[in-house]
């Protein structure tokens, strides 16, 4: 498979994407969305847990970016996060980069 190269701002997420942390992460991502010009890549390398609050957070960021006509990507998704993505259909709106 060919490795895709996209030009977009990459943000590394860290820790646990739960309800308690969602507010802080949302504020930081929205700041990144204001700055980015070609879309946003979320790097999940250091995300150890994600629950349905994370799903809501990502759907919200996807919508914001879509209004600006820009895509949202994710990369380095571990098997736990991958399960959440598949179950919720997030891959229908967010492309996984290899």
């Amino acid at each position: 498979m060919q490795k895709t190269t996209v030009r977009a701002l990459c943000v590394e997420l860290e820790g646990e994407l739960d309800h308690h942390n969602a507010e802080t992460i949302r504020r930081q991502l929205d700041r990144a969305i204001m700055r980015c010009r070609n879309g946003l890549i979320l790097d999940f390398s250091h995300v150890t847990l994600m629950d349905s609050s994370g799903i809501g957070l990502l759907i919200g960021r996807y919508k914001k970016l879509k209004e600006k006509g820009m895509p949202l990507y994710v990369k380095n998704v571990n098997s736990h996060v991958d399960k959440i993505f598949r179950m919720s259909g997030l891959y229908n709106i967010i492309e996984k980069l290899l």
């Binding site: 739960d18 308690h20 349905s52 609050s53 799903i55 736990h80």
Partner: protein, 153 residues
């Protein structure tokens, strides 16, 4: 082999306690032959139920949450109980993407996550009195170890 075990925790319904509760649940279940994946599943499901107690149960007052754990053979069961406003229509509440919360923030996928990460999810609720979510997961016994135990006995 596993002897039966139980525990009970009482804590206020605050968002800081979401991580506390799921870490306790994972530590409690760890005596079974859990894989890393089982532990992630348990943490996430317990986190969902506790988050719901924090977000939805208590809108006007401060309240408490009880987390109970029980191990019987190789099955672990958790109960997350609140004394908040309760759920009018449980079937509707459990539908994927159904949420009464702020839609920007809530995905409505909490019960769906619990159901796909655990073997059994039972919700009991009484409007005005509270909600109890029961989460059950059976951890397959490591067959090599079980065979060794049989050989030794």
């Amino acid at each position: 082999m596993n002897t039966d075990n139980y525990m009970e925790l009482i804590f206020p319904a605050t968002s800081q306690n979401e991580a506390f509760a799921r870490v306790c649940a994972a530590a409690f279940a760890a005596r079974l032959d859990c894989t890393m994946e089982d532990i992630s599943d348990i943490k996430t499901a317990v986190s969902e139920a506790v988050t719901n107690a924090v977000v939805h149960a208590y809108t006007h007052q401060k309240g408490k949450v009880i987390l109970r754990g029980e191990i019987s053979k190789n099955t672990v069961t958790f109960e997350i109980q609140d004394f908040g406003k309760g759920i009018e229509d449980i079937q509707q509440a459990m539908q994927p993407f159904y949420s009464t919360g702020n839609s920007e923030e809530r995905s409505g996928m909490g019960f769906t996550v619990m159901q796909s990460f655990m073997d059994r999810v039972v919700v009991r609720s009484q409007p005005g009195h509270g909600t109890t979510v029961r989460l059950e997961k059976t951890i397959p016994v490591n067959s090599m170890e079980a065979a060794a135990n049989v050989a030794l006995s």
